[in-house]
């Protein structure tokens, strides 16, 4: 048993953390939030130059050829830094989609561009406020033409290409992944307000836009698998964010005095932060299981990813809201940074589907396992 990152991976983490502390203090997320920018393009360029975008992409396709454990390491740091870049859209979703479902030609064409940062990719599934399952997919791909409307598409304005979940036939599960160039005709994109303006979201409308099936256009199970992979990776962003919230709260509790002593000496604060610590540790452990399942190609990924996501979502909500609470009045000011994390935590928890959806997935997977 070796249930930890390797020394090399830990060194990679330390380097990534140093880089982001220098290049991505919370002021960067704030700058995007308070401007019309879709993301921090300078930071994105630097991240691309470091090779992060191609971490899990084979060298043959322009990547670094490391594994998904390394990508988990970076995800945690991106999460700590609440980096205002399209990392999850382009890397965990668009790149992963190509890796698992793209044809050789598609991989050869797109992976190098995504890995180098020449292009930004994203993923579009939801069409309205409702469970984002196969039955809700109205968008359709017919004869190379994509039509439909997608909402809450992360980085939808900045992205160059999108992997779009679209109907491919009349059956309930006849849905698959379509690859569309967002710069082409028949694509309309409108920025959409969100609870986390340090990231950007868009409504995409396709009116017969040129698109192609990804690989053989396989059905809903590929979508599920893609979401599992992205969930396992995102769990590390959530864990990173949760830990920063705890660090911030702890730091404040040590330096803020009331009644003549640090507020961190009061049990109300101590036990609150102990609760946060417990949730964070459970989330981290569940995330490790996801990392192992993802990188080892285990059939347990579906179960592990659901567990990682549920645990990380719970931790991130708790840590981000109790960080505000610990900061008292300063905690809920605009100028304080606490709300950046509260916003990001909730956005990350919704982007791939809410915890309630993942709890149901988890139980189904446990039932299947028990039946097997």
């Amino acid at each position: 048993m070796d249930f930890d990152f390797s020394d090399d991976q830990k060194e990679m983490r330390a380097q990534a953390r140093r880089f982001l502390e220098e290049n991505c203090p919370p002021a960067k997320a704030r700058a995007v939030m308070e401007s019309d920018a879709t993301h921090d393009a300078t930071l994105w360029k630097k991240i691309a130059d470091l090779g992060w975008l191609g971490t899990a992409v084979p060298e043959a396709h322009g990547g670094v050829g490391l594994g998904h454990e390394e990508l988990c390491v970076l995800a945690e740091e991106i999460g700590r830094a609440i980096a205002p870049v399209p990392f999850n859209s382009s890397v965990y979703l668009a790149t992963e989609a190509l890796l698992i479902a793209g044809s050789e030609a598609q991989k050869a064409e797109w992976l190098p561009k995504l890995a180098s940062g020449a292009l930004i990719g994203t993923f579009a599934l939801a069409e309205k406020a409702a469970d984002a399952g196969p039955e809700g997919v109205q968008a359709s791909l017919t004869g190379g033409a994509l039509s439909g409307r997608k909402v809450a598409v992360a980085d939808g304005v900045a992205a160059d290409i999108a992997i779009v979940v679209a109907r491919t036939g009349p059956g309930a599960e006849d849905v698959g992944l379509a690859l569309v160039d967002l710069r082409a005709q028949g694509v309309e994109r409108a920025p959409a307000d969100s609870i986390d303006p340090s990231r950007s979201f868009a409504t995409l409308t396709f009116d017969g836009a040129a698109a192609e099936a990804l690989g053989d256009g396989a059905g809903w199970s590929v979508v599920e698998h893609l979401l599992d992979r992205a969930a396992a990776l995102t769990a590390f962003e959530q864990v990173g964010l949760s830990d920063v919230c705890l660090d911030m709260a702890k730091e404040y509790a040590l330096t803020r005095y009331a009644f003549g002593r640090p507020i961190g000496s009061f049990q109300a604060i101590k036990h609150k932060l102990a609760d946060v610590y417990v949730a964070n540790e459970l989330a981290r452990s569940n995330a490790y299981y996801g990392a192992w399942a993802l990188s080892s190609g285990s059939s347990e990924l579906a179960e592990a990813a659901a567990g990682a996501r549920v645990s990380a979502t719970e931790a991130a909500f708790l840590a981000s809201k109790e960080n505000i609470q610990t900061h008292g009045g300063m905690g809920y000011t605009w100028e304080g940074d606490c709300h950046l994390y509260y916003r990001r935590a909730k956005a990350l928890s919704l982007q791939l589907g809410a915890a309630r959806v993942w709890k149901e997935k988890l139980i189904r997977r446990l039932e299947r396992k028990n039946a097997a």
């Binding site: 939801a126 409702a130 469970d131 959409a192 609870i195 409504t203 005095y257 009045g329 309630r356």
Partner: protein, 412 residues
């Protein structure tokens, strides 16, 4: 046990409703927004003052204020009934509550009637608005930790320091301010209260932008503000006792008992009815149903607790600190509810504004609610209050008693 109005109460309720219907528009259908972006603008302040004047002229402002304060001298239960009815109408809110509820009664209790009575009259009919300047950057939960100094200079006092979390400071005319007048005395024993002119150039107000984007509060800087000793409220170094009185008046201000903040049961059920889950409308999902039931029971419990408080009021009893449970429960419930409402909307739950369901009102609440768990007493302070004042448990171990305030560790 009688749930209904007494005949007199029913009669009063009818009068109030009829008068309101003549003088104000009904609220629009659907839950109101958590945003109120126009709050505090000159037009909004003018409208609030006009509405206050209208209410006062009819005798519906500060109904229980005694005649000697220039009030209508009605029963507390009438105020409750008025609030319940007014809540159905679209009228300005959150301009006079603090001034008339806390500040002016304090001034009437402690100050020379020659000043207090005309000031109260002007405040009651909406000419002037009062605010309260207690909190400071280093005196929040620890409300006696005030560092703003008032130093004697001949007949006057000179005030320097910074206050924070003052509601509507920029449109207020007067404020009551807690200052430190003896840093050598223990914390609670060196404080003095004054009233001040908020329009004095030595008073500088800066808006605080909250995380929700709204600005309901101000920082207030006092730069050599000169006040007369006649502006002192209560004894020299007796300010803590005055502040306690002010906060006691706050407790007397009972709402209409609507069971909490944020989305209510109806809004949650409406959202669940409209939202399609994998297997049908969310309202058919047992997990959703259980949560809504749990929150409903809590909200009803709060509503009926308020009814019990109102009953005590109507029997002439003073409501105790039991009322502290209201904000504690409603803020936490609203946080859970809004979080859950976003989850119901799944991936699209992060949208705000036009693209969002119900105009993003659940998202607005989600962003406004962390402040509600803090403003007006954090969860933690409210639990202390319940534990100590209701249950009679001892205070925590103290390191800041019986030492000169200047020697109390302040960090930094």
């Amino acid at each position: 046990m009688d749930f209904e109005d007494s005949p007199e109460e029913a009669q009063f309720r009818q009068e109030v409703y009829a008068w309101l219907a003549e003088n104000a528009p009904l609220k629009k259908e659907g839950p109101s927004s958590a945003r109120d972006d126009d709050h505090g603008s000159p037009q909004a302040v003018a409208a609030a003052k006009a509405w206050q004047a209208t209410k006062a002229a009819r005798g519906f402002a500060q109904i229980p204020w005694p005649k000697e304060w220039g009030g209508p001298g009605g029963a507390p239960i009438q105020q409750v009934i008025y609030n319940q009815e007014e809540a159905k109408f679209d009228v300005p809110r959150m301009y006079f509550e603090i001034g008339l509820g806390m500040c002016v009664p304090t001034v009437l209790t402690y100050c020379d009637p020659a000043f207090a009575k005309p000031a109260a009259e002007r405040a009651l009919k909406g000419d002037e608005i009062w605010c309260q300047l207690f909190s400071e950057p280093a005196a929040g939960s620890d409300s006696a930790g005030v560092q703003t100094k008032a130093v004697r200079d001949g007949e006057d006092w000179v005030i320097n320091g910074q206050k924070v979390w003052t509601s509507g400071a920029h449109f207020c005319d007067y404020g009551i301010i807690l200052t430190r007048t003896d840093p050598d005395a223990p914390k609670h024993k060196g404080l003095t209260m004054f009233w001040i002119d908020m329009k004095d150039p030595a008073v500088e107000c800066r808006p605080i932008k909250q995380m929700s984007g709204a600005s309901h509060f101000n920082e207030v800087y006092l730069n050599d503000l000169r006040v007369k000793d006649s502006q002192r409220i209560g004894e020299l170094n007796g300010g803590w006792g005055v502040a306690v009185t002010t906060l006691m008046f706050e407790r007397l201000a009972v709402g209409g008992g609507d069971g909490g903040s944020g989305p209510g049961t109806e809004a949650m059920m409406a959202l669940a009815r409209e939202t399609q889950l994998e297997e049908g409308p969310a309202l058919q999902d047992r997990a959703v149903r259980e949560r809504i039931a749990e929150w409903h029971v809590r909200a009803q419990g709060l509503k009926f607790t308020t009814f019990r408080t109102i009953t005590a009021l109507s029997k002439g009893q003073t409501p105790g600190p039991e009322a502290s449970i209201g904000k504690l429960v409603s803020a936490n419930t609203a946080q859970e509810r809004s979080d859950f409402a976003l989850d119901l909307q799944d991936m699209a739950g992060l949208l705000m504004g036009e693209e969002a369901t119900h105009d993003g009102q659940f998202q607005d609440v989600f962003l406004a609610i962390p402040g509600l768990r803090i403003a007006g007493g954090t969860d933690e302070i409210l639990k202390n209050v319940i534990a100590e004042r209701v249950l009679g448990l001892p205070g925590d171990a103290r390191v800041d008693k019986n030492v000169p305030f200047k020697d109390v560790p302040k960090g930094g």
